[in-house]
Chain length 396, copies 2
Amino acid sequence: MLKFSERAINMQSSPIRKLAPLAAAAKKKGKKVYHLNIGQPDIHTPKEFFDAVSNLDMGVLSYVDSQGIPEAINSFRKYYTNWDIHFEEDEVYVTNGGSEALLFAILAVCDYGDDILMPEPFYTNYNSFTSIAGVNIVSFPTKAEAGFHLPVKDIITKSITKKTRAILLSNPGNPTGVVYTKEELYLVAEIAKEYDLFIIADEVYREFVYDGLKYTSFMHLPEIKDRVILIDSISKRYSACGARIGLMATKNRELLPLFLKLCQSRLCASALDQIGAAALINTPKEYFAEVLEEYQARRDVVYNALSNMKGVICQKPTGAFYVVAKLPVENAEDYVKFLLTDFDVDNETVMLAPAEGFYSTEGLGKDEVRISYCLNCEDLKKAMNVIEKGLEAFNK
Amino acid sequence: MLKFSERAINMQSSPIRKLAPLAAAAKKKGKKVYHLNIGQPDIHTPKEFFDAVSNLDMGVLSYVDSQGIPEAINSFRKYYTNWDIHFEEDEVYVTNGGSEALLFAILAVCDYGDDILMPEPFYTNYNSFTSIAGVNIVSFPTKAEAGFHLPVKDIITKSITKKTRAILLSNPGNPTGVVYTKEELYLVAEIAKEYDLFIIADEVYREFVYDGLKYTSFMHLPEIKDRVILIDSISKRYSACGARIGLMATKNRELLPLFLKLCQSRLCASALDQIGAAALINTPKEYFAEVLEEYQARRDVVYNALSNMKGVICQKPTGAFYVVAKLPVENAEDYVKFLLTDFDVDNETVMLAPAEGFYSTEGLGKDEVRISYCLNCEDLKKAMNVIEKGLEAFNK
């Protein structure tokens, strides 16, 4: 008998996409479905990207540097200086999306059987990358009641083993919308130094921080500069998810040859997408201001609606475009299915992502959902109304 | 102390690229360097690709289907019907180049510690994908004297263990230029059935078969249709290496959900590159005919020159655009370095790829080089003259 790999068989099915057939069935019945399940921004991609890849007279679309084209690398470096983050040219590696950067970062610092520490809930595809790498996730809990901020030191360090090589966090957080305070970053830095861990800092939502909060990057802490692997992507920042351009960057010079070998193994990232990505540095400043204002308004619609729903627990998120809400139900996945199969308001319903798939500890997150607010405020209001009325109907 | 992973530390440095600093130094001294080390075609990419991605009015460059956009999938299916290969729509998965397809195929059928069988020499990045997956390469030898055709059954099966899950071959062969006969394919099929192996068939050079030979794909053998994972790419076929578009396809329906999960883990392949790739189906037939004629002429230049060099062993390759030649030297890497640092003809020299890195068995290939003939015939003639004169000088 032919054998398939256990690692592929046991890989998690995307909790964001697995209920898609139910949404398709609802649409077939003529229902409108508001997709609050996926983080696909509806904001337009800056035209600088499309202009750069139009009417190219390249002749041969050749391989480009495994590390990335210099134009893209330097464009990213310039972007970072605006954030007071400074990289040399050989410290930035362009990847096939943030996804590949995460996989490569894990591969560079973890061997098979090693551990990686993360707060849960976490971005669900961290499960996939660790499955591929044969690395175990050890997690510590963060809670809806505390807005998913970090717990005290003891709770974080309790799960660390001799085989723990790194701590992986997204900040601003997917799926939680948390933005860590400077104090929280210092706590993580202290733990990383004490236990000799790398910090894999997934900062792809850096531009999405609300209420005038000041964002602190792990790159801003000089005492851990050799421990940080920065993960980034143009996907959310410029609403360019379909361009698979991300990056990993580090000040740890010993990591650079390892990154280069990993990048050489797949030859290069897309030449065209890199050309487009390089041009994004010319995006007008107003683009970010407008986008930020829009998302903050959406966040307000979602949060205000949630905080008025009976039995729903949720602190105001201050970043990214997600929120995890604890619902007054036993099984949130059943409720999500119910919305798609048995419920509508004026023939409209909502698709949410059950949050259980964002946890690694069995049983956690069962009563939670992740809400992505990538729709305009009007649609969001209707969607939140569906969620509220749906909860009443579901709990009857 | 911070630990780096053994797997990354032990990953092979690209034998194709590692001597690049010496080539750069030669160029700095004003020497012209003919690059016979890399498989970067100089043939123009069909304009259909660039036209398709020009002046796109997409608004939002969104994520696309993890499996691939339907236009690309159907374009590939149509291409295959010209080769009498037939896939359903859910049997083709678009990947970030052939590289990702190879990695995903290995991950889907091999667990950590499993074996994968390959003839050596093999495409050097197979080393990288197995390193990432934690899979061991077990190999059997093929020889320059036999044109790198397969040995007898016993020699192939000798290395198979209980942990061997698949046999991975490129056909036409990189780095050898071998095109396997139908009989050789039947032999592999027989072994795969006997030992319950998958066949990972890397057929990215399918269009490059010379001398009017008829090409047989593993997909043409119905008795193993559930064992074959076809790996493909537009990189060589359409000279579009910088577009990272490859695919994996299989008739084994149990593999499909595993492929989908692997694809979902990195969300999608580049949207723009897929749009360009889909349009390549409209490339005029003459494109292939012209390219084939050109490469066959190049092959002739290279092979004729090699067969006239004293002490060089090399059978006429019939596919791809590579040849592995055994040289009358003890250490081919020293000779390659010598060409770059200490030799020229009229201020021109050549960069070759030492073949040792294409073998997994220690010591094999030490006296061999891989020659890539991606230059025009005039340049190739000059380059072959450098190689011949260089051998005489090196052996003095």
